[in-house]
């Protein structure tokens, strides 16, 4: 261990293998595969960046013009204040001139673009006050429970699953799958049948990328995605060849135990994908990747570097469509939110995000696919605008970033909440914003860009029809 790692009363949620990919039990109607694209599908990738623990996005995007309203609830003495002078100012073109600021911890490295710079260049958008919603909901409807609320609104595990699945009223995890996976089901025919799996996670098993047919392939960011001791050039009759052959036979054999059968599934997928994917992951990638990511070794940077390598190898893997899942944890800042101490708490996490996203965008630019790749954030929930003395607690609607060459950036999409405690946006008096943009609208906009036909999107997002405007404008 290289240096003291002193943890004070903070609560980190390191979700390396959080809540996982789950099955489909028929509660959604049978999803057919997308009709084959009339023209060549082109190449597109979606990259989901999940912030586990509930990101206090109130600290991510802060009003400058209306700083007084922010400061009234989160003054310097509250231990969660971000000083006005430090904010990286942005002015959304569609905001009527109101100025906002990004958290100062969003720095960058290696000359990569900053999030502030990307916003100004029109490559980053902010979707404000978004969250899980079964239908539009007013405060009165929330208080009187006349409109169904998503189940267990302030529970990490439920909200993580709901953010990934958009299945909002379930009481068990049986039959839950991810909206990313369901989008993948609709475009599955755009990849040839011999391609390796379209949906990939660098954060272990995840619900997000698992659909009905599409299953997430969990990949390592480095290291061996293959069998130690194997020699792919071994000849029949040799020890290594016969060992590999026996192993393959074992993995294919049927068994009366359902548990044994289940244990074979991922093994078979792993075995089959290994020979194509292992060289991609163990290689360094081209200068388009090593340059922007030089010296960046955070968890998120490592994951996005691996994503970039897989994007670069898309022809080898025969991918016209790719769905990626990456994540970092640690956002459950009930205490020690520590906004003044860069290198710890929320600022450390934002620094990781700023550096990794900037490197990733630059990498896609150098690879010539900046407009083909859209990266977007998700989180369990936002946090209470009213702090608890040392940090913040669980809340609901929050802000998300969408980044890519195809994004209509430099704008805010949705309705920024009224930051008054107990006001029209607040479920109660702690500053838990009722979302005004639904997860379904957010996801449908991305799905539409990804190539899923409009007619199929309500199947992927079951609540979509309840919202007057199914799509936002951030993808054009």
């Amino acid at each position: 261990m290289s240096g003291p790692m002193i943890f004070t009363r903070r609560r980190f949620l390191q979700q390396t293998a959080a809540l996982g990919a789950l099955s489909m039990a028929g509660s959604l109607e049978q999803l057919g595969l997308a009709s084959a694209a009339a023209q060549a599908p082109g190449y597109k990738a979606l990259v989901c960046v999940f912030l586990f623990g509930g990101n206090d996005s109130n600290s991510m995007v802060i009003p400058v013009t209306n700083y007084a309203q922010y400061d009234a609830v989160r003054p310097a003495a509250s231990n969660v204040n971000v000083p006005l002078a430090t904010l990286q100012q942005i002015t959304p073109a569609n905001g009527g001139g109101a100025v906002f600021g990004l958290n100062p911890a969003f720095t960058t490295a290696n000359g990569n673009p900053s999030l502030q710079g990307l916003f100004g260049a029109g490559k980053l958008a902010v979707v404000v006050n978004a969250g899980s919603l079964t239908q539009p909901m007013t405060k009165a409807e929330y208080r009187s429970s006349t409109v169904p609320k998503p189940a267990n609104l302030f529970s990490h595990s439920d909200q993580q699953q709901q953010g990934m699945s958009s299945i909002l009223l379930a009481s068990t995890l049986t039959g839950i799958n991810g909206w990313g996976g369901r989008l993948g089901d609709k475009v599955a025919s755009m990849n040839p049948a011999t391609a390796t799996p379209m949906s990939m996670s660098f954060s272990g098993t995840q619900t997000f990328g698992t659909g009905v047919q599409v299953r997430t392939l969990a990949l390592p960011t480095g290291g061996n995605f293959g069998f130690t001791g194997d020699n792919l050039a071994a000849l029949p009759g040799s020890v290594q060849y016969e060992r590999a052959a026996a192993r393959a036979a074992l993995l294919a054999a049927g068994d009366s135990s359902a548990m044994v059968g289940a244990s074979q599934v991922n093994a078979v997928v792993a075995q089959n994908a290994s020979s194509k994917i292992n060289p991609v992951l163990t290689g360094a990638g081209s200068a388009a990747i090593t340059g922007p990511f030089a010296g960046l070794n955070s968890s998120l940077a490592n994951q996005l570097r691996a994503v970039a390598k897989v994007i670069e190898a898309r022809s080898t893997l025969q991918h016209n469509r790719q769905i990626f899942f990456v994540s970092i944890g640690g956002f459950d800042t009930h205490s020690g939110q520590g906004t003044t101490n860069v290198g710890a708490g929320l600022p450390a996490l934002y620094q990781q995000i700023g550096q990794a996203l900037g490197a990733f965008y630059r990498s896609t630019e150098l690879m010539g696919v900046a407009s083909n790749v859209t990266t977007f954030t998700l989180s369990d929930f936002n946090r209470t605008f009213k702090p608890n003395g040392a940090g913040t607690d669980h809340a609901w609607g929050g802000h998300q970033f969408v980044m890519g060459g195809g994004v209509v950036g430099g704008n805010f999409y949705g309705q920024f909440p009224d930051l008054t405690l107990g006001g029209a946006s607040d479920t109660d008096s702690a500053g838990r914003w009722i979302p005004t943009t639904a997860l379904d609208q957010y996801g449908a906009t991305l799905g539409r860009w990804f190539g899923v036909p409009d007619v199929d999107l309500p199947q992927v997002f079951p609540n979509l029809s309840k919202f007057p405007a199914p799509y936002l404008a951030f993808m054009g």
Binding site: P4, I6, T16, R243, A245, G261, A262, V265, A267, A390
Partner: protein, 837 residues
Amino acid sequence: MSQPSVQADRRTTASPIARAFALAVLALGCATSAVDALAQSLQAAVGVYRPGISRFFVDGNYDLVADLSVAFGQSGDVALLGDIRGDGARHPVVFRNGQWLVDRNRDGTSDLTVTFGAAGDKPLIADFDKDGIDDLVLYRNGVWYISSGGTGTATYAYGFGGGPTDVPLLADIDGDGMLDLIIYRAGVWFASTRRDGVADRVFAFGGGPNDIPMAFDYNGDGIADLVIFRDGVWYVSTARNGVVNASFQLGIAGDKPLYFGKGVASTPRLDAARLLYQGTFGPTEAEITRVQTLGVAGWVDAQLAAPKSTFTAMPWWPTGRPSTSTNPLCTFPNYLTSSYSPTAPCNCSDGTGFNRCQRDVYTNYRVQNEFLTKALTAPDQLRLRTAWALSQIIVTSNMQDPLAYPMRDYFQMLTDNAFGNFQELLLRVTASPWMGNYLDMVNNNGSPAQLAAGRLPNENYARELLQLFSIGLWELRDDGTQLLDAQGKPIPTYDQDEIMELARALTGWTYYPLTNLGQTVRWNAPVNYLVNMIPIEGPLNGTGTVNYHDVTAKSLMGYNFPAGGRAETEINMAVALVAQHPNTAPFMSKQLIQQLVTSNPTPAYVQRVSAVWNNNGSGIRGDLKAVVKAILTDAEARAPRNPVRTKFGKLKEPVLYVTSLLRQLGISSDGVALRTPLSNMAQNVFNSPTVFNYYNAEYVVPGTNLSGPAFEIFDATLYFQRVNWAYNLLYSGTCDTGAPWSPVLCGPAPDTTVSGSTGTKIDWTIAKAYADNPTALVSYVDNVLLFGTMPVGMRNSIVKAVTAVTVSTPSTQQQRLDRARMAVYLTAISPKFQVEF
């Protein structure tokens, strides 16, 4: 009633070449795909054939719901189920005028036809010669013709029966492992167990005009039971005395019943191993012997009474590691054993460059290793296993604060209380400073000033206490299933307001002062994980002027806490309320069953254990000793291996995968070489990523309705971690070969920086005895790792691979080592070994 006439015994045997060919066909493998649920359902089936529509309905898992429905055959056909090619699945078969038509892929069309017999013959399918392949049997006027391997040529013939209405049956009625010839004649069953034409057993059951008799092992005890199908109802007599002790409805009048004739007997060794998978960190030969000597209840009682393990106590250390220049505290190397003293300076550096203080005090390195060595060798296996299970439900983690001593204390506390009372355990957990730090219960401020400022108490511990450590999110019946309201929706057990009330009730606690450091009782006390937290109630308990415990009235789960409540009263009452909540028994019982025995317990099993949780027989609720005993002695956990129980069992979590492999192979280890691989397998011991454990207890295997919590950390990447760890364990590390054929010990060398390190050592000597004979070697490995359950196809594949390791004559030590490694590696990485069933 006259006995069936005796006919001459005309027996012929097939030529060796024909038999070898039948086996060779099998070896090339008609393997079903890995996840073929329909094939699995046909390995243990009851069902019906409806002649009017020529349709097979088959139920594979005795839930009386058809898993397979396929139209096959035509009017006049006789319907059967059989595994004609030994691939482990049962297929619909029809017999028509001497032709057997087999529908292997169950699509309604025949893909295999065998000619054997003639119109009017009565067909049967059974594995007569116990070679794993079903044989075709014809009964014609009292003569039984058997075609081994389903080739169409009679290989045996026997005489028994011959009456005009006789119904022939083949089943093991005396439990000797051999199928017996049975004749049913108007309600009387005549069995010739020696196949000599003489009826040596007679039973009476049935006799109704349209009754259809069957004989198969219904209850999995290895002896065929008598079954009568009458108008859609199956009547079972497991005691074979004519008394019906089970019946179920499957089919309607006019249907022809279908049944699975091959029971799979278990062995005492396998039964013992199953108990040890459930109650220890893996079976060993010594422990198997002990189970067979003491019996199940005797072994469990001995384990419940065994003296408990004690983990090496560690002294208090400050949360911030002292550096050389600022805070000298004690002298090296005494930090391992000395208790804290302010007069003995220390700088946490040993001067040799390697900072063991950092590793040994400020990470849980030593606690991990000690846990692993105890898991591998300690005698109180069941207690440690239970404590490990509890640690995955009531989770704390060194991810938040890496200090070693408090994790040692917390796990010792779970070990001490594993067979105690749950409410008391929950109280200790709630008062624990280590848990208090982990979930923000410590220094949770409920003072008047806090309330006046409108600041809410931290709700973290309150939420997880309810959601994870006691009652869960949804109201449950005692059998673990969710209760539904009048609209058919599940009912939440609590809401946000209730969490707030509980959080307020638990305010006011802080660390106990370190008096030998001159500390005094105060709010926001310095971190001290040694002793339970104390409440700061100001004037109420002489701890100053401010009462940090919220004294407003509260309402929690229908109980009113009056204003002015004391912290200790409220913590006791809150813990009592959640511990005694009706949800706690099923919520916790089911998780303990899933941790120890099976991921998919039947609701009935959960209910039986919940009943013991609610009342241990002496009116006590939450008696963990009684609950653990109930879990292990329950019939569902103990039932002999039976392919009908397709959903039984669980995937080994990484710790159990590692410990079971080492214990079964007799590999010793001090844990050092194991802790990093376990972390790579996503089970970094005592470093759970979140309070939701290494994997979610609710996880469902994708594409199924199966619960499989450990599968959440068994994706493609983690699969390679397991397999490659096994490879490195078995193939690398230095070997002390010593004199020829002295113990061949291989494995990672001891770590000289760890005191008492012994490394990890595999003794390959035993395997050497078999390495010249690949078949015998694989059988030995099967016996040690899979207890004889290795399927035929897997065995053949491994034998082939072992044979590919060429040996000279005589074979060298290295060659025999390599053969042994091949057999063990392939078995250890097999899906079969990943699972406990």
